[in-house]
């Protein structure tokens, strides 16, 4: 067990423990808060895998953007913290069936895969170069489609703003 293994288990533990709090916490602000650590742990795992650019993007987009959006959602809503977040209907049997099926598929994949156990060569420069190159050569169509996708998100955002204007 070398130092990388220790760091890996540390990040994995942070990710799993905080993800557990996210789904079990009674107070929604605690859920949002531990989601911060889940994202942080995943970013650490990316760093260990040599995907430095993705690690930072994970922090910038998920921690810097999406979690802020979730927090605003919590704060925009009045007295959300006093509401018990628990659904009235508990579908125990379908849930067990669903998770068992999912777990079965995952275990099958996990045991059936021929894992490459040797350590991958870490890239000496940042992965951003390679990403930039393939995005603008081989995957240029996907890149432009991404632009369209983001455009749709913007139009959706504008629609929300317009609704408020009508109301006032």
């Amino acid at each position: 067990m070398n130092i990388y293994d220790i760091v890996f288990y540390l990040f994995a533990a942070i990710t799993l423990a905080s993800a557990f709090v996210v789904v079990t916490a009674r107070n929604i602000i605690y859920s949002a808060f531990s989601l911060l650590f889940t994202f942080f742990g995943i970013a650490g795992l990316y760093v260990l895998l040599g995907a430095d650019f993705i690690a930072v993007v994970q922090l910038m987009v998920y921690v810097g953007g999406i979690l802020v959006l979730i927090l605003f959602g919590v704060m925009l809503t009045n007295k959300i913290t006093s509401v018990q977040i628990k659904t009235g209907t508990l579908q125990v049997i379908p849930a067990i069936l669903g998770t068992a099926l999912m777990a079965g598929v995952l275990i099958k994949i996990f045991t059936g895969t021929n894992w490459h156990s040797q350590m991958a060569q870490y890239p000496t420069k940042t992965t951003a170069y390679a990403l930039g190159h393939i995005l603008l050569t081989d995957y240029v169509l996907i890149f432009e489609l991404l632009g369209i996708l983001l455009l749709i998100a913007l139009i959706g955002a504008a629609t929300i703003a317009r609704k408020e204007e009508k109301a006032s």
Binding site: Y4, V7, V47, L48, G50, D52, F53, V57, M60, V61, G64, G65, I66, V68, L69, F72, G73, M75, L76, T77, N78, K79, T81, Y122, P123, T124, T126, A128, Y129, L131, G132, H133, L135, L136, V140, F143, E144, L146, G147, I148, L150, L151, A153, L154, I155, G156, A157, A158, T159, I160, A161, R162, E164, E165
Partner: protein, 122 residues
Amino acid sequence: MIEQYIPIFLVIGVSVVFSMAVIASSKLFGPQRPDSEKLSTYESGMKPVGGVRERISIKYYLVAMLFIVFDIEVIFVYPWGVEFKKLLGEQGISALVPMIIFLVVLELGYLYVYKKGGLKWD
């Protein structure tokens, strides 16, 4: 490459310890004589009026959504930026075309939000 990150992890560790020490020291030396007046919420000398967590404008939510979209846009500019000179050498002026299309598409969205009054604060 991974060795580069050891100092970063160390800095993060030292910062965590230091910040915790600062926060913990607030309980250490000061007196602790709480009373109900002292612990009440400050509202310019008045008794607090209404609820604490009133609803706030949807505009803030919109700002967060716009931020996510443009943040992702910036993130796609970075890999292109570090490769730009090399791509320019390989492909000439056409290296610029995909990025120009990408930016124009998003700026159309920006103009749409602008025209719809999404950026208007009052």
